[in-house]
Amino acid sequence: MKKFLRGMAAVLLVALMLSVSGCGASDGKTHLTFQIWDTNQRQGMQDMCDAYTAQHPDVVIDVQVVSWNEYWTKLEAAAESNTMPDIFWMHTNQLLYYADFGMLADVTDLYDDVEPGYYQNHFSEISLGNISGSDGRYYGVPKDKDNGVLVYNKEMFDAAGVAYPDDDWTWDDLTEASQKIYDATGNYGYLAYLDDQLGYWAYVYQNGGYILSADRTACGFNQPGGKEAMEFYIGMQQEEWCPDQNFFTQNGAGATFWSQRAAMFMEGSWSLLGALKDHPEMLGKWDIAKLPKAPDPVSTPESLDQDGRACMSNGLCYSTGAHGKNLEIVKDVLKYFGTEEAQLIQGRSGAAIPAYLGTEESWRTAFEEYGDPINVDCIFEQFDYAIQVPYNSASPRWKSQVLDVLTQVYAGNQEVDAGLDKMTEIVNTETAKKLAGN
């Protein structure tokens, strides 16, 4: 029996070894994997990799798309077993979690031989915020940036005899136009749906409030500016021109707008090119404008003096694992991804607005194909007063709990003010717990 067992163990061992040694290329080139989550950007990423491999024929880069829903589960499992892809996109929500745990390679010194202060000279403060770990070091090369804009249906404005949104539009103009369009056409006005990045965040900051304080330790939902903005934003669903949350859960804001049942909604810059492609019948019937500003922002020592204007901006970065096998080569690729040349390739492909300062306009190329039908300029101009999306290392913990309370507020089971107090407490407690733990 013993002999038999030993024999079996040997067979299993050989099988295991065979399966392990099965992978590994034999063409003498370095094969790198590059993991992303957006199919729409695949071509842009491929173009950039091709440009790199053209100069470095001994490197092969394989771009792999994993859907957003699986991306983080997969990446975390890969990080645990030290089998991360060589290069991958990193999101602001997750960067601190990975970086603080020592999972990401420190790329602060990447450009030291090129130009001192390379990052500071060529990327915005928000971009740098998105790549910084809690220790202030950089754990990724900035990829892109975005913000949210007001998308509107020109035909409905015309039908109601309302002037298109302009730079001086305030919340009052927004509600007034919504009412007029509803009265004249029977269509919904502005779609105020439950969402943070494409919803209430911007309103809170416009009104002189904050979600997280500048040092990211205190939450401001129940501070004067935040409270007033949240009451306004949530209250819009009480108006006849705005559907309620029941409707949004079942139908979606985007689908409602694109099926021409509503006049306005907030959309991210990253979705606009896709919208042009997906709704050819709407071409020329819609345009974008800057977000309306707060009419009378609350002024406190913490609030930003921006005349009631604000929009939320986020950006991704390219990162690599701290313990990768091909770290030196991968770092060279990352270094290339952060150059003006690579960011221009990304911009022209329409993938996203490049993070590299001065290359943003290249993104316009993709819209020219459609005859430049929308006012892309307002996106670029909004960067002047953009605010980095609020997050801290406890974000994963408080985000879903805050959402739970908010859905109860929208369901009418919870008073707005009590809900805001509860949300503030959740964020503060989770943040304090996290800070105490580290």
Partner: protein, 296 residues
């Protein structure tokens, strides 16, 4: 086993036996038993990140039992079972009996009833979402109502139960059909000579004869209902105002473990769910003595 003396050939045969069951046993251990032991351990830990855990004793359980959302989810799960299991099995038996009768296109009907089982749950959920849509859904149009099926806190879980029942009837019916076909036809003939009507036959012959099959269907259906997750995930989303009234234990587990990253807490929910399932199954095995007939 100890004092058994085996001949060389018998021992060889035994070794072969071990070898042949090895893949299953190893698979069971590696994929089911070991992860389960780990889950129990994890439920006593705080997840620090990337597979690092810190032992915190009963804290997860204390937090869980204090959380009203958890008790709500437990009730939702039980309520979901009450909604789906009795009705589902009764309907499945009804369908099985229809399919067992002499009707034309029997094969066609069997295929149609089994079809939901073959469809991807995602596709099923998508179609039913459109049917249930409070604004433009066909169900409201037929009924002449304006019910927000998926977002009303009272109807949301009923909507999920309807879809779950609809998609499981076919499978359960096929199992019950097999049970029905094993019943000896002579029993019916003999009873009709004795003057028994159709209803009498159903309660005195069909039900007792099919009770072992029904018992296994009941256990399977109840376990599946207690673990419901995919339909809720597909038919709703985080911004649904009725989420608190429709989320099951498994959905709560998913959100804790994978959205909030709190795997210790999530594991505690899983352990609780397993304990519930175990309890219910034990009660069923005890209760079956009263109604399941194995010897006719």
């Amino acid at each position: 086993m100890k004092n058994r003396k085996l001949s060389a050939s018998a021992r060889r045969e035994e070794n072969w036996g071990w070898l042949l069951v090895a893949p299953t046993i190893i698979g069971l251990f590696v994929l089911n038993i070991w992860p389960f032991i780990q889950t129990i351990y994890t439920s006593f830990c705080e997840h620090l990140g990337f597979g690092h855990y810190r032992f915190i004793g009963l804290d997860n359980y204390i937090e869980m039992f204090r959380n009203p959302d958890f008790w709500k989810a437990t009730w939702n799960t039980v309520y979901f079972c009450i909604l789906t299991v009795p009705v589902g099995i009764a309907l499945a038996l009804f369908v099985a009996m229809l399919l067992n009768a002499k009707v034309k296109f029997k094969g066609g009907f069997r295929t149609i009833f089994f079809l939901p089982m073959v469809c991807a749950p995602a596709a099923i959920a998508m179609v039913w979402q459109v049917i249930f849509n409070g604004d433009s859904g066909i169900l409201n149009q037929i009924l002449g109502t304006h019910i927000q099926w998926i977002t009303n806190s009272k109807t949301a879980i009923i909507a999920v139960a309807i879809v779950s029942t609809w998609s499981s009837i076919g499978y359960d019916a096929v199992l019950l059909l097999a049970g029905l076909q094993n019943i000896n036809k002579q029993l019916y003939e003999a009873s009709s000579i004795d003057g028994a009507g159709k209803i009498r036959q159903f309660f005195n012959i069909t039900l007792p004869m099919i009770s072992p099959t029904m018992f296994s269907v009941l256990i399977m259906r109840l376990m599946a209902s207690m673990k419901v997750y995919d339909l809720i995930y597909m038919m709703s989303d985080d911004t649904n105002p009725a989420m608190a009234d429709m989320q099951s234990l498994m959905y709560l587990f998913y959100r804790s473990s994978f959205v909030a990253g709190d795997r210790g807490y999530g594991s505690a929910i899983v352990v609780w769910t397993v304990a519930l399932i175990l309890l219910v199954t034990l009660i069923q095995f005890w209760g079956q003595k009263k109604w399941v007939t194995y010897d006719i």
